[in-house]
Amino acid sequence: MSSFALTLYVLIWPVIAAAVLITLCVSLYRDMRKAKRDGTDLV
């Protein structure tokens, strides 16, 4: 494997983790807004 491919192999994981975090944050924000609108508990 080339150095570029190995670099990608090592650094792709934090990138995916960051994408998951953004997805979860956006989703939580929507859930919080919906819970507030409906007057229900988040958990």
Binding site: L6, P14, A17, V20, L21, Y29, R30, K34, L42, V43
Partner: protein, 556 residues
């Protein structure tokens, strides 16, 4: 190694547990609902549920073991830890849908077994869940002690005590709801730290240049993406444990009962990706350490990650690393406390001690008392520094004996309580014989164990295929797996007692469960499960439904 000062560590711990406690106060209620205390409102949203599932499944050992695997096995090492660990979440999903459909108001898997079979099956599952959660709790407290001892002048016991009381403090009042709510913040801290730490260490070590210098120093096996050693010594045993850990772990069961039903798929898939990215990413630090020629302090691979952090990170990032590990162990430990309380509340008190008449206030008291006792026991055992990883491998393999009986019981109406119980005991017994070589593994004895282990391999593959693709594909792939494995297993598996015993537990329990079931004519009506598993709070039926389990109508 660089150490944080005592005031800095105390401040970080105070901020972490103080903030977590304040967050948990947001969901505190004067009159807590017992069902909410165990499984929330059964309709948690996607973001919160996926974050909680991910945070719970990532514990401190995930980082250390993934990095050890990367260091030991090279290029593919971290994948062989993180990938299979992630699949544990994914493979429980199809079965989780079935559990949820049969018993939407369940609190524990053992409770469903009670409704399906009766007390002995319930207590076998509940007992194994309790042992597993207690060990997990001890491991997490031990990790806290070790982290504090390595990164600060404070002692191991200080770390154990602070973590124990910090976690108990924010979990005891609202139970599972506190656990889920705080998991989000803990996961946020974990991912943020991972995203910052991995690139910093990579570029500190020289960036892409590291590969040009380090790759030629690796052994051919370490440099290969398809390393046979990595597969046989790390991937295969972990793969075998995939279903066992998912079935044997109440923390996952609680979350699958808590999430909104239509969001189960997206929750499980996201948690799988989240877990894989964080754990494999941190496992890469082990691979980088190998390339850089780093030698673990005192030859202990568990020191690798703290060592890399303290050597290559600036002080602020060491603080981030510290919070990341504390976050990971706390999120799992609070889930273990919630799981233990739910098991004791439902399966010990609700279904047994209360004689079918659980009192909501007493039940809540039992749950909170369980958390206090479990914390005290875990603190004491953690302080003894027992060989916990060995215990964990032991319990993980032990769970193999209940996987088939639990799953099959919820699909095949012919399985009886006697079949479940005898299968679990037979699988456990044969597991012990193989694991501790109580019989000499030679000749016919060894061949018999290898035969059962091959059946076990077929069962693992068959169940996984069955979960996603249905009965026909499950049978075909399971049968094929057996036929392919058997010729290799004979004369070979006897030299790998850990793998042999794990697969034997699956194989023996399956054979016994099927044979004993075939002796009966039972045809269980699965609708009975929903009738028997009900919410405890404000449900008067719950008080009367359990005066001894009445047999469900038998359909002919």
């Amino acid at each position: 190694m660089y150490q944080l000062s005592t005031p800095t560590v105390l401040l970080l711990l105070l901020c972490f547990y103080g903030l977590t406690f304040l967050v948990s106060l947001r969901v505190g209620r004067k009159d807590e609902n017992v069902d909410g205390y165990m499984v929330s409102n059964n309709s948690i949203g996607f973001g919160m549920a996926a974050a909680s599932m991910t945070a719970t499944w990532i514990w401190a050992a995930s980082f250390y073991a993934a990095a050890s695997s990367g260091y030991k096995f090279g290029l593919s090492g971290a994948l062989h830890y993180g990938f299979w660990g992630a699949l544990m979440i994914l493979f429980i999903y199809p079965f989780g849908r079935r559990f949820r459909a049969l018993a939407p108001k369940a609190h524990t898997l053992a409770e469903i077994m009670h409704a399906r079979h009766g007390r002995s099956s319930q207590m076998i599952l509940a007992g194994s869940n309790i042992v597993g959660s207690m060990i997990s709790l001890m491991v997490n407290f031990t990790a806290a002690g070790a982290l504090v001892a390595v990164l600060s002048p404070l002692s191991f016991v200080h770390g154990v005590l602070i973590a124990g009381f910090g976690i108990l403090g924010y979990t005891i009042w609202s139970g599972f709801r506190s656990s889920v709510l705080t998991d989000f913040g803990q996961l946020f801290a974990m991912i943020f730290a991972a995203v910052v730490i991995i690139p910093i260490i990579f570029f500190q070590l020289g960036g892409p240049e590291l590969f040009a210098q380090g790759m030629p120093t690796l052994s051919p096996e370490q440099a290969s993406f398809y390393s046979k050693t990595a597969i046989l010594e790390q991937g295969a045993p972990y793969f075998v444990a995939v279903l066992a850990y998912a079935i044997g772990n109440q923390t996952i069961a609680q979350r699958l009962f808590a999430v909104r039903e239509d969001l189960m798929k997206s929750t499980f898939v996201t948690a799988t990706i989240g877990y894989a990215s964080i754990v494999i990413g941190l496992g890469m630090l082990g691979f980088l350490a190998l390339l850089a020629g780093v030698q673990p302090v005192e030859g202990d691979l568990n020191n690798l990650i703290p060592q890399m952090a303290s050597t290559y990170l600036p002080p602020f990032a060491i603080g981030l690393f510290f919070i990341m590990v504390i976050g990971s162990l706390s999120s799992t430990a609070d889930s273990d406390l919630s799981a233990l309380s739910a098991l004791v509340m439902t399966d010990v008190y609700g279904k047994n001690l209360a004689k079918g008449k659980p009192n909501a206030k007493t039940m809540l008291f039992v749950g909170r008392l369980t958390m206090v006792v479990a914390t005290m026991l875990a603190v004491v055992f953690a302080s003894l520094k027992l060989d916990i990883l060995t215990m964990l491998i032991f319990v993980g393999a032990l769970w193999g004996a209940i996987v088939f009986p639990v799953i099959a019981s919820l699909y095949w109406g012919r399985i009886t309580n006697a079949a479940f119980t005898s299968a679990a005991f037979a699988g456990f017994l044969m597991f012990l014989v193989a694991r501790f070589e109580l019989l000499e593994l030679e000749g016919v004895v060894a061949l018999s164990f290898e035969l059962f282990a091959s059946i076990g391999g077929g069962v693992v593959i068959g169940l996984m295929a069955f979960g996603f693709f249905g009965r026909k594909v499950g049978f075909i792939l399971g049968g094929l797996a057996f036929l392919i494995l058997a010729p290799f297993a004979f004369g070979f598996l006897r030299d790998y007692p850990v793998l042999l015993s794990s697969l034997t537990a699956y194989g023996v329990s399956t054979v016994v469960c099927v044979l004993v079931s075939l002796l009966s004519n039972e045809d269980f009506d699965f609708d009975c499960i929903n009738e028997r598993v009900v919410a405890f709070h404000g449900n008067t039926d719950a008080a009367t439904e359990d005066e001894g389990v009445t047999p469900c109508p038998v359909l002919r």
